[in-house]
């Protein structure tokens, strides 16, 4: 009873006991820690999400450029094959006609015409399959797709992998921050419990546990930053 009276007297003069002061410090520290962890969590979450979206966009663009550039290239190859086939047929006819002098003149003339046609067709096919110039009126994005080559795709793939790495890093940071926030919530509950239990042994024990929990929450916040 005498001790209780002393404590009350001290509290009256100084305002609070050490228990109450520590309780106040922990409440304030928990508020600060909550704000810091929340900011870190929001930043990590948004960065992760952004990187995932960018990686998705890169996937689409890789598809777009590989699928969008190949028809033009295929057309050029096919037209070249078509023209070459004509020339090969003409050459074959010119060779075969050596054994047929009676039809040589007609077949020879036709074969020569085919060779000339083949040369013209190669040039026409090549130019028809060229990337349209800026003056064609086609939007730049479509022209870029038409003109893209494996080097561009490698660049996009590299950027996609970089975005995935960013997403992984910030995802891990967000997870650690979330764990820190969970510990913080537990610590805040323990602080409240200590306040309810008061200055006795159980209250002090819970306050000590709350202190350790809040320290652990802060440690996880720091751990999140070093990912």
């Amino acid at each position: 009873m005498a001790v209780n009276l002393d404590v009350e007297a001290v509290a009256e003069v100084s305002g609070r006991t050490r228990f109450d002061r520590w309780l106040a410090v922990l409440v304030g520290a928990a508020a600060i820690l909550a704000a810091l962890l929340a900011s870190l969590q929001v930043d990590s979450g948004l960065q992760e999400e952004r990187a995932l979206h960018m990686a998705s966009r890169m996937s689409v663009r890789i598809f777009e450029e590989t699928a969008g550039s190949s028809p033009r290239f295929s057309f050029q190859i096919n037209s070249l094959q078509q023209a070459t086939t004509l020339a090969i047929g003409a050459t074959a006819a010119q060779i075969a006609v050596l054994e047929m002098p009676e039809t040589a003149e007609a077949i020879q003339a036709r074969a020569e015409a085919d060779v000339r046609a083949s040369e013209r067709l190669m040039a026409i096919g090549q130019s028809m399959g060229d990337v349209p110039p800026p003056t064609s009126g086609i939007d730049q994005a479509t022209r870029d797709v038409l003109a893209s080559d494996p080097l561009d795709w490698a660049g996009l793939l590299s950027e996609q992998l970089r975005q995935m790495d960013i997403a992984d890093r910030f995802g891990e940071r967000a997870n650690r921050t979330l764990f820190g926030l969970s510990l913080l919530a537990l610590g805040a509950v323990l602080v409240g419990l200590a306040a309810v239990l008061g200055r006795g042994v159980p209250g002090r024990a819970v306050l000590a546990a709350a202190t350790l929990t809040l320290l652990a929450a802060a440690a996880w916040g720091v751990a999140a930053l070093i990912v």
Binding site: S14, A24, I32, A34, D43, L46, R50, F75, G125, G129
Partner: protein, 217 residues
């Protein structure tokens, strides 16, 4: 009846004000973050739509249409070369070349009649080929909304909103300082006034920072 402590009402008002600011800032940051996410998703959707439309138009023009048009070109060029050769030939050779030229011209007409590119004179070029770029532009212009898609625009808006959301969230730090000083004012009566002043300054700083973030966004 319990006697009211000096500064007790001020502390209560300060903490209540800090709670209100924290709630408003938190809600605003949450909304901004959600909007940022929405814009990023919009960028992905636009990327998919634009890519699908582009690839389909290119595939159609440089696939079936270009192939068919080139077969018409081949027939026309061969017919021209056979006729040119016939002018230099005589007898059976001339007859054969003229017959081949006529056959190729007929083939060209048949192919051109079913080819959107070959039957439209505006796609014709001086070298006998066709302007596939012009054809692709016409195909693209059928759906100007798809051509006008710019995924980078919503992406940029999302980036700006995310930055603003982070700024708003960071404002909870001075607000938390207000809570810290409020709690210290409760625990350390002798310095209550000092902590109350510090808490008020922190809260005012938070409000000014929130206004700055809103106005500079």
């Amino acid at each position: 009846m319990e006697e009211e402590r000096p500064g007790g009402r001020g502390l209560a008002v300060l903490l209540a004000a800090a709670a209100v600011v924290a709630a408003v800032v938190g809600a605003r940051a949450s909304l901004l973050g959600s909007s940022a996410s929405g814009n990023w998703q919009q960028a992905v959707r636009q990327e998919v739509k634009a890519a699908a439309a582009t690839v389909e138009d290119i595939r159609f023009v440089y696939g079936p249409e270009a192939g068919q048009a080139f077969r018409a070109v081949e027939a026309a060029v061969r017919a021209e070369e056979y006729r040119a050769a016939a002018e230099q030939a005589t007898g059976v050779a001339r007859s054969v070349l003229l017959a081949e030229a006529a056959a190729q011209e007929q083939l060209r007409e048949i192919l051109a009649s079913v080819s959107e590119v070959a039957k439209d004179p505006k796609y014709g070029r001086d070298d006998g080929g066709y302007d596939l770029g012009l054809r692709l532009r016409d195909m693209r212009d059928r759906f100007p909304d798809l051509v006008a898609l710019r995924p980078d625009d919503p992406q940029a808006v999302g980036d700006r909103l995310a930055k603003q959301a982070l700024g708003e969230t960071a404002i909870t730090i001075p607000v938390a300082l207000t809570f810290l000083f409020g709690a210290l004012a409760q625990g350390f009566h002798r310095r209550r006034r000092l902590f109350l002043v510090l808490g008020t300054v922190a809260l005012a700083g938070g409000i000014v920072a929130a206004a700055f973030v809103e106005l500079t966004a």
